[in-house]
């Protein structure tokens, strides 16, 4: 409606400058999630914040939504001729009140603004109609499928007439088909100018989704989150995934996200921290073995583009990266220009039998994962060959939050169990060499 009226003022809707955000206490272990990030959002564009988990893209979105106050930096809504800039948000988990009906959920924001009941009802019904929910007004969220629930989330965000629609991974909790339908519907509404919004800012970790929907993509590095590049998408809408130009752009973004210069020099590997202080992801050894086998086999034969892997294996970039990076940490693979390249050790691993595989894995683990080597040395030194896990957890907590310490220790525990490097007794919470070969 207001969408395509010509604008004389070219003032941006939002200007975020030099945003820095730390999680954790002022003293002690804390995590830098956003480091010196700038963002300008103009009228009439869909901007995507693309990055992996831990890149702070959600934090930036929540800062603009007013839900988080960043540690440093400015978020400004420059004054405009057409009134103050307002925002509204769509959540990944839908965030519907389960005890309210669809209609009540949509009305909730208007109610909080003190809009009269009749007008509230009228506007809510219009939004429900727009978003394709008519007939469901009196249903409760639990009666709806995921796709319909996110439609409620959209209607609730649109009904308050925001200037900017903020979306936090709005389609990632949906199955592939439903997500595609919702994306198309949203793009239709946007291009037809039927939504009362001036701009959309969305967070995603799905590269194809970003290329499909956005006019501009900000690619974030992780740990800490920085904008590594801004990519303008000029492909005409509607875009097609099989279009060679589309594929090329996806490839380019994959390469950007695996560029080695992304990781600051003062670090051992791809994970935040160095040595013992490295925060490790929980990646199953089965998944690692599966990925090695997939890249080893034809047609890749040891070198595979990440975008092809993601498509072949039905993984999203966000899921694929931690696995690839764990392999990199173990010196089983390398990430080069958007390709995953197996090392000679990994190729030997792919050809080996179960026991030999375990041996190779154990060697790599103890040599290249500092925490695993550390635990093993402590166990070797002790006459009892056993040690309480809490000891290592405490050591880790000097460097990171208890949650991360727990996650890291669990990751190493599982890898070591597979490698038979040492064993862990959950009841006693102790590591030992008992069952280890």
């Amino acid at each position: 409606m207001t969408c395509f009226t010509p604008i004389n003022t070219a003032a941006p809707l939002v200007e975020a400058t030099a945003i820095r955000h730390l999680y954790g206490k002022a003293e002690g272990a804390n995590l830098l999630v956003l480091d010196n990030v700038d963002l300008t959002l103009n009228e009439n564009e869909i901007v995507g914040l693309l990055g992996r988990s831990g890149s702070g893209k959600s934090t930036l979105l929540r800062s603009i939504a007013g839900l988080i106050k960043p540690t440093e930096g400015q978020i400004a809504f420059p004054p405009r001729a057409d009134g103050p800039t307002t925002v509204s948000m769509v959540f990944q988990s839908f965030a519907l009140f389960p005890w309210l009906t669809v209609l009540q959920n949509v009305e909730v924001g208007l109610e909080a603004k003190g809009v009269r009941a009749e007008e509230r009802r009228k506007r809510a019904l219009a939004a429900i109609d727009l978003i394709g929910l008519d007939g469901f007004e009196n249903a409760y969220p639990k009666e709806l499928s995921g796709g319909m629930r996110q439609r409620v989330g959209l209607a609730r965000a649109l009904v308050v007439d925001p200037s900017i629609l903020l979306m936090d991974e709005p389609f990632s909790a949906l199955d592939v088909l439903t997500a595609e339908t919702l994306r198309t519907d949203l793009l239709d509404l946007w291009s037809e100018g039927r939504m009362p919004i001036k701009s959309i800012l969305m967070v995603t970790h799905n590269i194809e989704e970003a290329v499909l929907m956005c006019d501009r993509i900000l690619v974030f590095s992780s740990n800490p989150g920085r904008v590594v590049s801004t990519i303008k998408v000029d492909l005409p809408q509607p875009r097609h995934r099989q279009d060679p130009a589309f594929r090329a752009l996806v490839e380019r973004i994959y390469a950007q996200m695996t560029r080695p210069d992304q990781a600051p020099a003062a670090r051992d590997g791809v994970f935040p921290g160095m040595g013992l202080s490295m925060v490790l992801p929980r990646v199953s050894t089965n998944v690692m073995a599966g990925l090695i086998e997939a890249v080893h086999a034809a047609p890749f034969d040891g070198r595979a583009p990440m975008s092809d892997l993601a498509q072949d294996l039905q993984y999203e970039a966000d899921e694929l990266f931690p696995i690839a990076e764990t392999l990199q940490l173990l010196r089983l693979a390398e990430l080069r220009e958007g390709d995953l390249v197996l090392t000679a050790t990994a190729r030997r691993y792919a050809e080996a039998e179960v026991d030999a595989r375990k041996q190779i894995f154990a060697q790599q683990l103890l040599a290249h994962v500092p925490l695993a080597g550390h635990v093993r040395r402590v166990l070797d030194d002790r006459p009892s060959h056993s040690a309480p896990a809490s000891r290592f957890r405490d050591e880790l907590e000097d460097f990171m939050s208890p949650d991360y310490a727990d996650q890291t220790l669990r990751a190493v525990t599982n890898w070591s169990r597979y490698a038979e490097a040492f064993s862990y007794d959950e009841g006693a919470d102790r590591f030992s060499l008992d069952d280890a070969v």
């Binding site: 002022a26 929540r62 939504a65 007013g66 839900l67 509204s88 948000m89 959540f91 990944q92 988990s93 839908f94 965030a95 009140f97 389960p98 005890w99 309210l100 909730v108 924001g109 109610e111 909080a112 603004k113 003190g114 009269r116 009941a117 978003i131 394709g132 007939g135 469901f136 007004e137 009196n138 249903a139 409760y140 969220p141 639990k142 009666e143 709806l144 499928s145 796709g147 319909m148 629930r149 308050v160 439903t178 339908t181 198309t184 519907d185 239709d188 509404l189 959950e426 009841g427």
Partner: protein
Amino acid sequence: MVFLSGDLKAAHPSARFLNAGTVPSWADLVAFLLLAACAILIVRGAEDMSQPLAALHAAPVTLDPARLPEYALRTTLRMFLALAASLVFTFTVATLAAKSRKAELLIVPALDILQSVPVLGFLTFTVAFFMGLFPGRQLGVECAAIFAIFTSQAWNMAFSFYQSLRTLPADLDEVSRQFGFSPWRRFTRLELPFATPSLVWNVMMSMSGGWFFVVASEAITVGDTTVTLPGVGSWLSVAIARQDMKALALGVAAMAVVIVLYDQLIFRPVVAWADKFRFEQTASQQRPASWLYDLLRRAAWTRSLARSLARLSGAAAGPLHPSVRRRAVRLPAPPPALGRILDALWLALVGATVIGGAWLLWSFLSVRLSLADLGQVSLLGLATLARVVVLIALATLIWVPIGVWIGLRPAWAERLQPLAQFLAAFPANVLFPFAVAAIVALRLNPDIWLSPLMVFGTQWYILFNVIAGASAIPGDLKEAADMFGLKGWQWWRQVAIPGIFPYYVTGALTASGGSWNASIVAEAVTWGHERLEAAGLGAYIAKATAAGDSARVALGVAVMSIFVIAFNRVLWRPMYRFAERRLRLA
């Protein structure tokens, strides 16, 4: 726009409006009559309560069956007044604890202790206090009785509400903040609905405990003063004094009727209603049902009443009160240095109060009591502890196999589960006289034979929790156990016990706490002028209460509290944590 829906059931939302005509239905009439009758009864009961104390002496409690319904009504009314007070306490204190870190520091441990303290011991103090507050009026004694019930209900409700507030789903919290909800709207739209299911469950548990106390607190003897408030509890105590078996049986029957009625008329509908607040995104298979709730929902006028009520509450937080809304804007947090100073000051204040309180307690007790008293009380405490341990163990041996047997047979579980819940809610102390009469007649040793009375009312918690646990064992696990021919001890060790363990711990914890409380009425009982006593801490407190010896009551209650808390920390908490960590089926 493409219209995608996989949910056929949800495709007919208008079905619930099919019979929303304007012509009154039979459901309208029935529902209206029921509600009107309730209102009249409440007004009558309240009128009686404000009578002067002299009226009580002029018209003492008589064993006239015609007056029994009125007594039952007065007792029930007391229960619900106490419940209302408990809810007010819950909403204020628990909210305070959840919103202020400083208050939390104090309130949470206090609630934890109060949950496990034997509240019956407080009667002495509260009666004296409330009679002083309203001299010469029945209201004072009524308040004391209501307060006694309140002390048995409030803590676990407040605790559950606090826990709900602390575990609010993060995304809903963000939505509320994003839309700038006022504190009132946040409470009605987010916090209260989210807390409702566990609060309702805790209210039910509290009511079960409350019946026990209402019976004990209506006929109060403190030193020379004996007050019998009109109610079922007084009826029973008069019947006991006169050794009137028939009146006793009538009183028990009245109690049973009241409990069934309150279950059917109040709690079933509330539980059925609260089901919609359960925080889950998928529709549940089995939903609690209530005929009354269905009736009220079907009646057109209750629906329009509910609608106008909702509009009223909406208006209360709407544009009429912009001042309320403005407060939703968060105050900027104080600078960290100032915050640390405030924290230190607060800690110092709390510390000073604690030291002052300890000194006060010491000076009060040391004048009146010697160390020998402490030794004696501790020994008696050990005696009662031995009783509780042995009885809970016995109850476990009996009820776990039975509960598992029932729980694995859904048809039986469905029929017996309400019965077990009814037995848990039934105040066991009204049945004590029968047991006492038997002990007197058979000349049995009271030290041994009075003990079972302590678990008489509380063993059912073990039973119904075990039934619930056994029915919750997943079907695939049961099938796998069948397939591999698991039998005998192996089946118990690997299937049944791990499956029911978390539930059993919950039940046994409740049962043991209840047994400590019950010891105060179970270890010293009377039947006419026959007086039976078992050596134990409960009898000690009961005797001191009857003698009006507040120092000994305080000592007894304090020692019992320490026993209960130590028991919980040493035994139940580790078991709870073990169950949480190792035996969760998720």
